[in-house]
Symmetry: C2
Subunit: 243 residues, 2 copies
């Protein structure tokens, strides 16, 4: 292999916005172009374009579920439908997964939430955190909002944005092993000047993403019977420092 | 009016679980029965049964959206489809809204998230928090999980459950004015002994819900240009005390 081939990475971009020409869509395109030009392999899951079924249900499985339906039990049967298996294969192949989406009233779009619900790979107790299935992979959040940065600060009107996205970064992603890169938040995206700044910041973030040092969360061994070892910061506190 | 009629309240139960005979479903039935027997008026939005469309999109509006689609703009046009208007009317009528759902890997079911996405009433800036549209209403979360309580404590393996549900309680509900009652969390729900305890605790909670004192969150006037007034606890800290 040549030096260039050695360095090639598999990038998966999971993107959720109903309007392709939105600023969020522009950020997605920028990421695709950047990694493609750098010689990496880029896959995109454009959830709105794919018309992704956001609702975890019996229909997620090829085998007919008779009687009591328990999502977690079904997920262990390896009978997931093809659409979900394709997404799983994408994740398994990826070195870096980037999530690009807007915050709607402090929440991610349900369609993105629904991308996580039926995935059994994210729940393989006790293979979690630093021992998780995906401990060799990295994940990055790229979040857009029309709101100003100040409202999402620690003492801002809405509260610390990195604590608000904790259920995704920590609950979904670190849970199954992903190394979480410091998220990038694009504020005031309806303002042209802010958009320019955002595009520049995003370009710089993309440049360093593959080699960036992830957030240092607590390891499994940091927890005992009574919870986190005394004196250690909780992961809410740790991620809350990334604003 | 008689004394009984004076005390009658409108209760809305928003319930999200794919399996009607699940323990979560049993808790829902218990709530319906309790309030009905007490002479209150009970409406239920059983999101799985309703096959609720979780994905906010152009199809949420009766008017064809040509060109650029911006959810927040469309929501101001009063062209929402009938299904969504019905849900809005239920909320407008309710004195108390109870959300009953399982936590799936630290997240609410996407179908419940999708119930919030298309609702314009939740975003009427600057009518928010204690000045919000629904400041006369109360909201209660009833959350189920097979996990043990200890993992959801402040220093537990998953982190503080009330901080994990903050985007819902504070981000969606307090945002538009709801008074948030201390949530009730049902742990270890696959364990029979825990189920018995849960049913009892839920019964007691239902008894007091209508008159219970809500969580004291910061008011709009507690925020200045630089954020929350010095010395005041953040709302993340406040809700984090309810475990």
């Amino acid at each position: 292999m040549t030096e260039i081939e050695n360095k090639e990475k598999n990038i998966l971009i999971v993107y959720a916005h109903p309007e392709p020409t939105s600023f969020t869509g522009i950020l997605k395109n920028q990421a695709v172009e950047f990694f493609t030009q750098q010689g990496h392999s880029v896959a995109v899951s454009d959830l709105y374009e794919m018309n992704w079924n956001a609702v975890a249900n019996r229909t997620d499985f090829t085998k007919e579920v008779k009687g009591f339906f328990k999502l977690q039990l079904e997920q262990r049967q390896n009978t997931l439908i093809e659409e979900i298996k394709i997404e799983q294969a994408k994740v398994e192949k990826a070195n870096l997964v980037i999530f690009i989406f807007p915050l709607w009233r402090l929440r991610l779009p349900a369609i993105l939430k629904g991308w996580f619900d039926p995935t059994p790979w994210s729940y393989q107790w006790p293979k979690l955190y630093n021992n998780g299935t995906f401990k060799e992979k990295k994940a990055l959040l790229c979040v857009t909002t029309p709101e100003e940065k100040v409202v999402f600060s620690e003492r801002g009107l809405f509260g610390n944005i990195s604590k608000i996205t904790y259920p995704l970064t920590h609950g979904c992603l670190y849970f199954c092993g992903f190394n979480i890169l410091p998220p990038i938040y694009h504020y005031s995206i309806n303002n042209e000047e802010s958009q320019e700044k955002s595009l520049k910041a995003w370009g710089e973030k993309l440049e360093k993403a593959i080699d960036e040092t992830p957030i240092e969360f607590n390891k499994l061994t940091d927890y005992g019977e009574g919870g986190l070892t005394e004196g250690k910061k909780t992961d809410f506190e740790r991620i809350g420092e990334y604003l």
